[in-house]
């Protein structure tokens, strides 16, 4: 393993992480809910009365974030290397899988680990493991 010190951005990573943590903190303390993005999105596809508007508001806020940012300054780089078929395959897989897992990086990785949930610890270890393995296979075993 070699560390790419030139790309290492500890302070912005930490600052962004603290903001994400604050968002999750406000959501559980004020709304009494888990800030889990896959669950919030998934619930939109299973509409129940009184359960829809807050999900729409949350998603609207997330999509508004880059708009607000762009209104003030240049957006940070967003570089997507994956091809369209790859994005479709990955999207389908992430959609189905996160619903079966009951969460993703936010619900399990941030909120779940914060409350020391055994389910979320196992989920996070599992998706981190296959994330590392998948990138290894794509970039080194078959790519190169």
């Amino acid at each position: 393993m070699t560390i790419d010190w030139a790309s290492f951005t500890p302070w912005s990573a930490l600052a962004g992480g603290v903001l994400i943590g604050l968002a999750a903190a406000v959501f559980v303390l004020v709304n009494g809910r888990i800030a889990g993005i896959s669950g919030i999105l998934g619930g939109l596809l299973r509409p129940q009365s009184g359960d829809l508007s807050w999900r729409v508001a949350f998603v609207a806020g997330m999509i508004a974030a880059p708009l607000l940012w762009a209104a003030m300054t240049t957006l940070p780089e967003i570089l997507i290397e994956a091809s369209v078929p790859m994005l479709v395959a990955a999207g389908l897989l992430v959609g189905v899988s996160t619903r079966y897992a009951g969460g993703c990086t936010s619900g399990h990785g941030v909120c779940g680990i914060s409350r020391l949930s055994p389910r979320s610890l196992l989920a996070t270890v599992s998706f981190m493991a296959t994330g590392f393995i998948t990138v290894y296979i794509v970039r080194h075993a078959i790519g190169g």
Binding site: M1, G16, A65, L75, A90, S97, S126, F132, V135
Partner: protein, 144 residues
């Protein structure tokens, strides 16, 4: 807008800004974090660390409350069992994450930034979530 929806919007917005600042909205940076065998960029470990540091304080307080600060019911998951859908779902999610470099939250933010690839990913992800709903509904109908 009622208070829960207003807070949901603000939390979504702050969460999105955190993802942008941290670099998580950039799939290229996510893949550099998942690429242990390449030039490794450890930044995103600090995103998780920062978020969990703040989150764990909030969830400790939240766990002792019967109602939220605006008297909403607390909806914190209570399940502790480790089951197959949790593990298989998480493993599958990690594969999708490693293929594209997108998990659900950052994909929404990149969509808001106008990235075509993020639109492809998000639409596919929603289709994946809809497939989950269909499978689960037909399974419940078969059981009934």
């Amino acid at each position: 807008m009622n208070r829960p929806n207003l807070f949901a919007f603000i939390v979504g917005l702050v969460f999105g800004l955190g993802l942008l600042i941290s670099g998580m909205a950039n799939p290229d940076k996510v893949l550099s974090f998942l690429d242990l065998a390449g030039a490794w960029d450890p930044s995103l470990a600090l995103v998780m660390g920062g978020a969990i540091a703040v989150g764990s304080i909030a969830f400790t307080i939240a766990g002792k409350r019967e109602r939220s600060l605006i008297a909403e019911p607390m909806r914190i998951p209570t399940r502790r069992d480790l089951d197959k859908p949790l593990v298989l779902g998480s493993l599958g999610f990690g594969v999708g994450w490693g293929l594209a470099g997108f998990c659900p939250g950052p994909a929404l933010v990149a969509l808001g930034a106008g990235e075509t690839g993020a639109v492809v990913f998000v639409v596919s992800m929603l289709v994946g979530m809809a497939i989950y709903e269909l499978i689960e509904q037909s399974r419940k109908t078969a059981e009934a």
